[in-house]
């Protein structure tokens, strides 16, 4: 199997789907001539031409609005919003148009729209480019929210998102673009949306981690294994709809749960997981469900404060030890 970076997995997914279905097209800021602000659409302009790979003005509301219109007219647009922080500019198109069209038009129009966007948590680029908003969009019914943590998951999920008739927010992380993984060389390789993945099997503690936090949870699990603590790491991969069946099966087995997220604790992903576990697994719990999240504050410029922000491997190890105490 060929080894691919996360970035090339994204490019491959779009190229394969654009070749497979000529209704699929890509638009966004610098996606065409520049090959993407982060290089995640390199070669697509040459392969498919300027009609299907289009640069847009710097206007996020118009980018998503055009995507909504094109999707209703029968196309399958992929639109790129450079940073997830910019969803604030186009939230009306996302929440009030894309997410509601199936409901409002009783299914007369499909909404096969993919909004690719990136989180840049912990890149030191300040409060406007460092947010984790998966919980924000996960709150809106009618949207699917996908957040892969590996190249293989990214490719399989992006292809599923493009083939999906519902609007999908596809969240990448710039810092993960360079990680590599072997990926099946199969143009119909898909990973279903809404299915969590047990990244490491274990029996003592379930750690539910998403996005950037998955690799740290795995590193923590490796370190804890040396002390005889067996950690199961679950990557939900899809934020909405969240695969509670897989999560609760794991927690019922281990009786202990830690949720690690780079989004805030308040009204967040960890809260949702903890609440659902409380309902489904209450009588299987031997310890309270724990959450690790960044503090409830905007992110500063620069990386000198990293240790105070997102949970790192040390914090995960400490929290797991606490659950085992």
């Amino acid at each position: 199997m060929p080894t691919k970076t996360y970035c090339w997995a994204i490019i491959d997914a779009m190229r394969e789907e654009m070749a497979r279905d000529d209704k699929v097209f890509l638009m966004g800021e610098d996606v065409a001539a520049a090959g993407g602000a982060f290089g995640a659409s390199r070669g697509l302009l040459d392969a498919f031409g300027p009609i299907r790979v289009r640069d847009t003005p710097i206007s996020e509301e118009i980018i998503v609005g055009m995507g909504v219109g094109a999707a209703m007219a029968g196309r399958r647009p992929i639109v790129e919003i450079m940073f997830i922080d910019f969803l604030g500019l186009c939230l009306d198109q996302i929440a009030n148009q894309a997410a509601k069209s199936h409901y409002i038009y009783d299914g007369m129009f499909k909404m096969p729209l993919v909004i690719r966007t990136s989180s840049a948590v912990e890149m030191g680029i300040g409060p406007h480019h460092s947010q984790a908003w998966e919980a924000l969009v996960g709150h809106i019914p009618g949207l699917k929210v996908v957040m892969p943590s590996t190249p293989r998951d990214a490719k399989g999920l992006l292809k599923s998102a493009i083939r999906d008739d519902n609007p999908v927010i596809f969240i990448e992380h710039i810092a993960m673009h360079r990680i590599k993984e072997e990926i099946e060389d199969d143009e119909d390789f898909l990973i279903p949306i809404g299915k969590a993945d047990v990244k490491r099997a274990g029996s003592d503690v379930s750690v539910v981690a998403s996005g950037l936090m998955v690799a740290r949870a795995l590193a923590a699990a490796e370190r804890l294994a040396g002390d005889g603590i067996s950690v199961e790491v679950i990557d939900p991969r899809t934020i909405s709809p969240l695969d509670f069946d897989t999560i609760s099966a794991s927690v019922s087995k281990t009786s202990r749960c830690l949720v690690v997220s780079s989004s805030h604790k308040n009204f967040g992903f960890g809260s949702e997981v903890a609440a659902e576990i409380g309902e489904r697994c209450f009588f299987d719990l031997d310890q309270p469900v724990r959450r690790l999240s960044p503090p409830f504050t905007p992110a500063p410029f620069g990386r000198q404060f990293d240790q105070f922000l997102n949970p790192d491997t040390d914090a995960i190890v400490a929290a797991v030890r606490d659950l085992m105490a």
């Binding site: 009588f283 719990l285 031997d286």
Partner: protein, 390 residues
């Protein structure tokens, strides 16, 4: 106008019951005389018929405890009224809730003192019959975790005690037995009876079984003798109920019948006016239906005296507990050949022990002694029972 659906008083000693089922739904039309709900009470499950007509609104949940007279529902003139009805008076609800809470809820503990037990540890502990509150917890702030419960289970020899809820017939028996001891002053007296003539009488009856149509038992003969004495001694055939002494006008003798899980006491009514054959036929019918679970409450109501034969289990004597509001109970042991002195000679006679418990509040020792003496005289010379025949 709504018609209240209330818990009826089905027996003299009935104070409460468990509502075990409704046969009609909210808003459903109910006619007078239709079966409306089921309750579990004094040793039986009983169907209760509607004493009015209308559209039903149920106020009480199944498996809740209610006192006699409690309003558990109402019948309305229209379906809409029934469905809109809110519920009974607040007082009735509070009373039932308090009663249930008293039985089910653990003792409330101030929050600061509450034992910390993880849900998993509590579940495993309960399954193993361990009180998790009594364990030393090794978790944060002394919390009892799974490992603490597992340690206790691992250190235990054997599987530990099995636990099941005290419910149904067993719960009723437990309550009645405690009430019996707490509400009455029980005195037990014993007497040895020479059963030679009863043995001969029974042998004669058995020899003529085909002609009589039934196999007469020792129990039938003793029961008949008790009925004869009770008819003569209304002071024994009496009860203290509240502030009154009630002397019953019928001699109704309950006969203890053991079941797989418990014991019930069907009643042979007017036993003083029935022949041995009638008593034998009725006893067999009641016992068969009791073991098939087919007795109705009328089969068990109205007893004024109880007879318990433990002799078939090889017992000699015991101290039977009264079956309130009755004032006397007789237990009979096995008939065994014993060495006794007769006219200065050592002889072997078939002897049986009478074990009689009286309510000493009502029955003085002298009266009890006379009853015992008369019963013994009848059993030692059963032919004298003929003298009273009309």
């Amino acid at each position: 106008m709504a018609h209240d659906v209330t818990i009826p008083k089905l027996g003299l000693t009935m104070v409460d019951c468990t509502l075990t089922g409704w046969t009609k739904a909210d808003g459903e039309r109910v006619e007078k005389g239709e079966v409306l709900f089921e309750i579990e009470t004094d040793k039986i499950t009983s169907e209760v018929e509607a004493d009015g007509a209308g559209f039903l609104r149920r106020f009480a949940e199944v498996d809740t405890l209610h006192t006699v007279g409690a309003v558990i529902g109402a019948l309305y003139e229209t379906k809409a009224e029934a469905l809109a009805a809110a519920g009974p008076g607040a007082a009735a609800v509070v009373e039932v809730a308090a009663e249930v809470a008293r039985i089910e809820a653990p003792v409330a503990v101030a929050r600061g003192q509450r034992k910390r037990v993880s849900p998993l540890a509590r579940r495993i502990a309960q399954g193993a019959g361990i009180d998790p509150g009594g364990l030393a917890g090794t978790g944060a702030q002394g919390a009892v975790l799974r490992r603490d419960v597992d340690a206790v289970i691992a250190g235990r020899v054997g599987p530990g005690p099995k636990r099941r809820p005290l419910a149904g017939l067993r719960k009723t028996i437990a309550r009645n037995m405690m009430q019996s001891l707490q509400m009455t002053a029980q005195m037990t007296a014993f007497a040895r009876v020479d059963m030679a003539e009863v043995v001969a009488l029974r042998a004669s009856c058995v020899a003529n079984e085909a002609e009589l149509g039934v196999r007469v038992s020792f129990t039938d003969i003793v029961l008949k003798a008790c009925a004869v004495v009770l008819a003569r001694m209304p002071d024994i055939n009496s009860s203290i109920i509240g502030d009154e002494i009630v002397t019953w006008d019928a001699v109704n003798i309950g006969l203890a019948v053991s079941l797989e899980d418990g014991l019930i006491v069907p009643v042979i009514k007017n036993a003083d006016r029935k022949s041995l054959v009638e008593i034998a036929l009725e006893r067999i019918d009641l016992a068969v239906r009791a073991r098939a679970g087919q007795l109705g409450r009328e089969d068990m109501a109205g007893g004024t005296f109880t007879l318990s034969n433990f002799g078939s289990y090889g017992g000699d004597f015991e101290t039977p507990l009264l079956n309130p509001p009755q004032s006397a109970i007789l237990g009979i042991g096995a008939i065994t050949d014993e060495v006794v002195a007769r006219d200065g000679q050592i002889v072997i006679r078939p002897m049986m022990m009478l074990s009689m418990t009286f309510d000493h509040r009502l029955i003085d020792g002298a009266v009890a002694g006379r009853f015992r003496a008369e019963l013994r005289a009848l059993l030692e010379k059963p032919a004298t029972m003929l003298a009273g025949l009309r």
